[in-house]
Symmetry: D2
Subunit: 325 residues, 4 copies
């Protein structure tokens, strides 16, 4: 089918490529003219503005917005909504907060415009492996764009099938899922990222314990010099904790066994934070997901006011001097 | 090669089978005579006692002890050590605390007996998939038993290879690794299990947040009825958090979408606890691994004294009544 | 001075009493006529409606709203704002979310009405001990109502003075503080409650460890039967962890050493949740405050979906049966 | 009564002084001859060696060992036990691990020597305020030394009494408590310190949230410049979270509002770690006490291997560059 794509960064560009490879027609726009012309060379129809893009699409139109979340997505969708017509579809494939999806879908519905939110996972590997997609929106609209979703998804591939799935949604096995009404896609993707933080932190703590097993704090006959590179590799093979994140870890360690190429200052994106907020709204305990987030916060600080307060109290009651030299 | 195996439960029995399939000769013993005779029928040489087993092995002997950790393993190895000769090898394939390995190896060394600890992961799937093994012991001894380890390990199989592994231990890619001196194998296995708890808890929290997204505590237009069975499945396909534990989760949910066949009371084994102790000894922060353990503790309680204390304080300062009806 | 008070529950009623004792004139209103007449008997001027209350106050008026946070406070302030005149003052003494204060102050400012938010701590003990108050609002307005605040505050009393406070706000020693513009009072009170949760949980965990020191899981010669009632008492006397919350704990334990009068199901109010949200917004790690909140969430559940998922995974890889009987 | 005191550091010296003030006779020894002669000048009988100290005490002797925990305490008690006679009493007033107390008491009992463990809280303030003491040992022995304990304890003082304490141990109100057999004193003291860590961390996190409320990450109209010095002070006055640790915090902040005199690198002692180990042995969830300990661990590191692993994974799946410049 024909689809417009706005935002041709690493994610958006590869989405266009994966769509074209499978025979879809794309009309593409980005504020950076050079990426537009590059994709035009690869077979896309370039557009010079949002209105140009809209004018080049047959009705009812489908437009995939693939921009960094936040203000620019909001502004683009607002402008788009004034250019589109009733029964057109806007797909937000970015990392939008799901409550914004709910609000937008409601407001666009008044104009007859459909809104679909797609959370995608797969990162820089998506062009090759396909994108795992979690989708929110009205059923008939999600079905209307099914061929696009099917193309972008990984497909069944060689991954072993789960028994007893008769009666469940077959699309899940293809790597895409209609999760519920507008917002549900980004909500599920948000939780996915929350889990991702937790899993990453579980590995990180475990490897830290391995790494420090030669610590001089330990009795000499209880120290080991462990090769974390080989351990990551062996765990990929038949262990309970094999995973794609472990595969990536094994790759990193094989190249940089000490990881000294990394500073240790770790960013976090909105999804990890929103997941905790969601847990709190639902009164669901989420100690692991929270701890994972807090580790990232702490990793970006020198010393916190909190830590200085601890020293201040220790000095207060015990005369323990942890003052600056 | 020829090897004695003591303990023919689910793990031990399948180890014998996997060894025999690959041409190794096994002499087997278990306190339960029926499992001995069953494996004899399958080709093993049965033994009626530890001394019978020892007498049926050529020197230098190799004996794999595969018993539930703790007192019975300790008692068996003590008895074995009085029956074996210098240069024989005892392999402890159970879930022994690594400091016990260090102690035992030292004490057996005085008798000239070699000690090898093997942590195995793979659970009930090991017969078919092979066992991921983490090994501690002296280099020449570990090399002497290499053919046995190679047979038990999963082998390279179809799992994609990690680039840049030139110069690293090739056995890791086969699914087994000599981690260091006695104790190192069980130490690495222990941390593996610690990580396992953390990863499981990360998924569990995330799915709990999905599951409760229809909570009446939430504003009505922010509730979703999410299908966690389908979500587990879609995440297996190209998402960042795909893993073997997720595969298992998807299987469980396909059979029992509500999981109401489980009580929710979750056990923990020594490894999870020892991992936290190890972290503390090394002064390594392990908030996620700890939180995962504590969740299991709490899952087995009705209401804790701690929670009643909270109510008591709330009543004290605020007159909040959380007393029994 | 003269002041209107709306909401005569446990907190509001005692505030009126403490004000009258110190010579202030109060005009009081509550939806429940009987509490109005009760306070009238004690010397207050009763009002039969919001407009009646407004009409009985001299201009510029001061009205203290002391209602449970949320919709009713919002509705009352909205109605009040239509009855009051420019230069009147609305004080919200409840547990309002500070962002609502910021919004309200802005909207009331357009009508010339001043808004002051007062977070109060001290619970049911306030009538006797005075209320610790954290105040947000414009400086001249907070100064205008100073005599009321001074009356409600505990005063210096017999609490030892902190050295080196020359140059700091003297009101802090009286037990009330102008923290900043509108919202700052409730923000500081919110964090106060977050800390309260953390401290309570620290005691609760410690006492739980004492309480379970006779657990049959422990080696027999390492078990103690500890008297937690006496331990709470001795810690009140010269220990580093003496506190008012410990005083309350000692009182509870003296009456009910087993605390079996409490169910163990513990509520949480908005402040604990908002504190975590605030920490996340600021990227401040708050593991203790979060853990305290999550314990309360968990205390109100039977078994969580999360726990069942753990069992499902354990069954998946290890055949561990934690299924219902 | 007469008592020997070994170890005349800050704690031991002040204990001797508090004992002498109340009329007890002390025989004192320290490896540093100058502190012995200083206390001799103040009225103590100096000893030049352990055996000299033993020879100067009337039988049955009572010796208080007040040394930093660990090897030196162990060595001193071992030497003492060869010098003392049946029915003598050794008191360990240091921070000994309670399992060492259990072991020692058992071994000394074979020689007829009594062993009492005393955990003390109160830090550098003890000379003036008295020491809160938690005591383990046999009942008749603890009673034999009661006059010494009573002297060292704070006494009832001006602290309000807890109602309903009829029938409980009256000594608790004096600030000392016989908790149980040998080891019970140090066990209770250990948990006290675990709680102390948790409470300190609760305050630290809360103040950190206050401190960062002017963070540029926040929307401009939601930022406050909060005066944490004044907030600490106001909370001392009638708030639910008033405590001695808060008093100390208020003192520190009054002198150094930014706390920039502290590095933020925070030590931990054995008790915090042992408390977590005890919780794990008992299967008691202790998320807050653990989090408090981990914060201290992290405060002493630059960047952890764990954090670099997070960056490595993020780079692996998302191309996020957190590498060194």
């Amino acid at each position: 089918m024909q689809i417009g794509v706005i935002g041709l960064g690493r994610m958006g560009g590869n989405i266009v490529r994966r769509l074209m490879r499978d025979g879809h027609k794309t009309v593409v726009y980005d504020r950076a003219a050079d990426v537009v012309s590059k994709l035009s060379d690869e077979g896309a129809t370039g557009a010079s503005s949002l209105s140009d893009l809209v004018s080049k699409l047959d009705t009812p139109r489908t437009v995939w917005v693939m921009l960094p979340a936040g203000e620019i997505t909001e502004a683009t969708i607002t402008e788009l909504s004034s250019l589109l017509s009733s029964d057109d579809v806007i797909i937000d494939g970015g990392n939008t907060f799901y409550k914004d999806d709910i609000r937008r879908a409601k407001s666009l519905r008044e104009k007859g415009i459909h809104y679909v939110d797609v959370g995608t996972s797969g990162g820089v590997w998506g062009l090759e492996r396909g994108y795992c997609m979690m989708i929110g929106g009205d059923k008939p609209v999600v079905e209307r764009i099914d061929s696009v979703l099917k193309t972008l998804a990984p497909g069944i591939g060689t991954i072993e099938r789960t028994p007893h799935r008769e009666g469940f949604d077959a699309r899940a096995e293809e790597g895409y899922l209609h999760c519920g009404p507008a917002g549900a896609g980004h909500f599920v993707k948000m939780v996915h990222n929350g889990i991702e933080y937790g899993i990453m932190q579980a590995y990180a703590e475990g490897f830290d314990i391995l790494h420090n097993k030669n610590s001089p704090e330990l009795p000499e006959d209880e120290r080991f010099e462990l090769n974390t590179t080989d351990i990551a590799e062996v765990w990929r093979r038949g262990s309970v904790i094999s995973s794609w994140l472990l595969d990536l870890t094994a790759m990193s360690l094989a190249q940089h066994p000490t990881l000294d190429n990394f500073s240790g200052s770790v960013s976090d994106s909105g999804e990890g934070r929103w997941t905790i907020n969601a847990a709190i709204e639902e009164a669901v305990p989420a100690p692991v997901l929270s701890a994972a987030l807090y580790t990232r916060f702490r990793s970006r600080e020198e010393h916190s006011f909190a830590e200085k307060m601890l020293s201040a109290m220790r000095f207060g009651f015990g005369g323990h001097v942890e003052q600056k030299g």
